[in-house]
Subunit: 436 residues, 2 copies
Amino acid sequence: LSAALDARAFLRDKRNGREHPAGAIAEFVARAARREIPDYQVSAWLMAAFLRGLSEGETAALTEAMTRSGRVFDWSAMGAPAADKHSTGGIGDKISLILAPLAACCGVCVPMVSGRGLGHTGGTLDKLESIPGFRTALNADAMCAQLERIGVFMAGQGPELAPADGLLYSLRDVTSTVEFQPFIVSSIVSKKIAEGARTVVYDVKCGSGAFMRTIDEARSLARRLVAATRAMGAASAALITDMSWPIGAAIGNALEVTEALEVLRGSGPVEARELSVTLTAEMMRLANVEPDAARARSRVTTALSSGAALEKFRALVAAQGGEARALDGALHPAPERFEVQARRDGHLAACDGFALGELVVAMGGGRRQASDAIDPRVGVTMLKRRGDLVRRGEAFAIVHAASADETLAARAAACFEITAAPPASHAADLVIERIA
Amino acid sequence: LSAALDARAFLRDKRNGREHPAGAIAEFVARAARREIPDYQVSAWLMAAFLRGLSEGETAALTEAMTRSGRVFDWSAMGAPAADKHSTGGIGDKISLILAPLAACCGVCVPMVSGRGLGHTGGTLDKLESIPGFRTALNADAMCAQLERIGVFMAGQGPELAPADGLLYSLRDVTSTVEFQPFIVSSIVSKKIAEGARTVVYDVKCGSGAFMRTIDEARSLARRLVAATRAMGAASAALITDMSWPIGAAIGNALEVTEALEVLRGSGPVEARELSVTLTAEMMRLANVEPDAARARSRVTTALSSGAALEKFRALVAAQGGEARALDGALHPAPERFEVQARRDGHLAACDGFALGELVVAMGGGRRQASDAIDPRVGVTMLKRRGDLVRRGEAFAIVHAASADETLAARAAACFEITAAPPASHAADLVIERIA
């Protein structure tokens, strides 16, 4: 690569709608990550790319350059293939907490690098940190040692993995260029490849509680994620799943850890269990650990019913400094609880997931800005499922709050629609479409 | 104005193609000039505006905000109206050197803030600095004193006038967002209004030696300049003038000063003289000093023939520290001279003004980067005019060079086309169109 990349000419090319050669993107990102290209040129390029677009080839080059900006793990000597799952974010999405230990019992190892809550959605790291003592900041040595010993870790990105992603994300955030699929894809995929996953399953959420509201947006993102991951030489597929209703019954950090434990104990809401089993079996199939779908499902359900997955989760918590004893009692019960009552007779039909997520953030369960602290206690638990019949005045959910705010129950109730007719579908299988 | 302008929301609005309210632009520019908005947000906005466009109203708001970012002179107590001329840049354009002292003899005062060479074109400040001792950096007190005493100054922008323009220009330069008419217009007009001109005549160059190659581009820029100037309450008109051939016979810093002196002495090339007279008369008309066009021209030509304009130029040079004696001899003769010879019989028909300007820059007459020094000696003088008949081997121009480079004559010759038939027009009047 030429050491003389002219950043002005690079910007002018994208400004004029030209496609960058892969080598030019590689050099621009590498030099930006080394802080040799000033932020004001990087941010102008982000805006030009947002408005002029990036092709699939440019997205692949961007992903590769971001991956190569830091350490890239190689777990090929591990004995079990390294596999991971990434969700685009939803309401009550605690699947990673179940899937990571579950998959580690089913023939793959799981070097899972996760994120924090974003917008109205929760984040896996925030949920894990509601377990007293749990450390999500692991250095590379600790990641290696833990993956070798128990086959799974769940940690934050840290400064070693894809540092260019950290730089670009911070500039996207302040230049209003966040919601652009090629940037979203390169950010997600570079982290998965850098963590060493050679199989990545994507759970692309679609509906009122997701960032992708329509099936067309979800399908576009799913296709780009799979293409960029394969361009990096890893196996990949995406499931587009329904996010028009919370996953399971619990929304909120500690509440979701408790529900994940229920599923790991072999009980818990059927939708949360079913989605965990489906995604884990998909990973096994793609990683060539168990190509037969029925046998893959059978191995996964056995890992749940035998208690193996629960034991793996306990081992994970212990390895990362968490108090495993805390998992046996009530985890951070909230001081205030309010019943959410039906305002009419009818069927629980629709949920405004965005509004419900924003309500939990407002209660302290998420962040308005990066420096905000999370209150692990707060959230909402559903007493009824989608489609269930309720009577006027009947409680169908509970708000768990930090303080006595009588308005919360009504604000939660306003997130749900109750109709005379039952909703068309309330299938336990949330999978809408598979992209491979 | 709200102190809480959200720069991210401002960027998102332009990214989405929305028109900014004037107040939002005012606040963004004011805060950027105070360095309260980081460069990476300003540069992303520049790119978004470049790609999404700025309306006439937004351009006016940007111009006003840039003007208000620094000192704004008020010459209303001067007795003579303050008027100025701005050229968009060409080859051999020494008109400002003639017009400023000439207009100051014709009932207006001229607080002229000028620039340096840009790209392939020369700059008034660089030309003036070929006069030994001439100071182009004047502080506000010096500008005031000189305008009161002799009715004219010619100086650089300095840090006091439109400092936001300095910031935005430096970011445009490094983000490839220079050639966008709303930015060009706000940069030019904010300086003219800040210097206190209440009448501004624009000389919008069009042709091979100009930044605007087509009449459509030139017309668009001319209309925007006039509209933005009037939006700031000043009188304005624009002349679109021909730049498909150098103005006059001299190209190069000291050579152009010498030619300007010839015009001020009442001789010199007819095109340079005619354009100077036309633009000065236009200023007088717009400033309401002499509404009758014929009488305005008559006053201007009298100021030339009487020697008044030459005396004013000498006073200007003396006031700004220049050696007036240097004007009487040969100013910086170049050590090497090469004849540019016709390669065939025919008429001098066309000139690639861009290539000719680039050749002069390459010889040291302009800058490749801001830190380059100018060699005032170098340039080209024409021995023949457009349309003149030449014989094969006949010299039609002279290259003035710093060192013995035998290739220069051929490179200069290659900038000119010689045809069997005479060119359609070689009018001495360069004005193509008037926009008012």
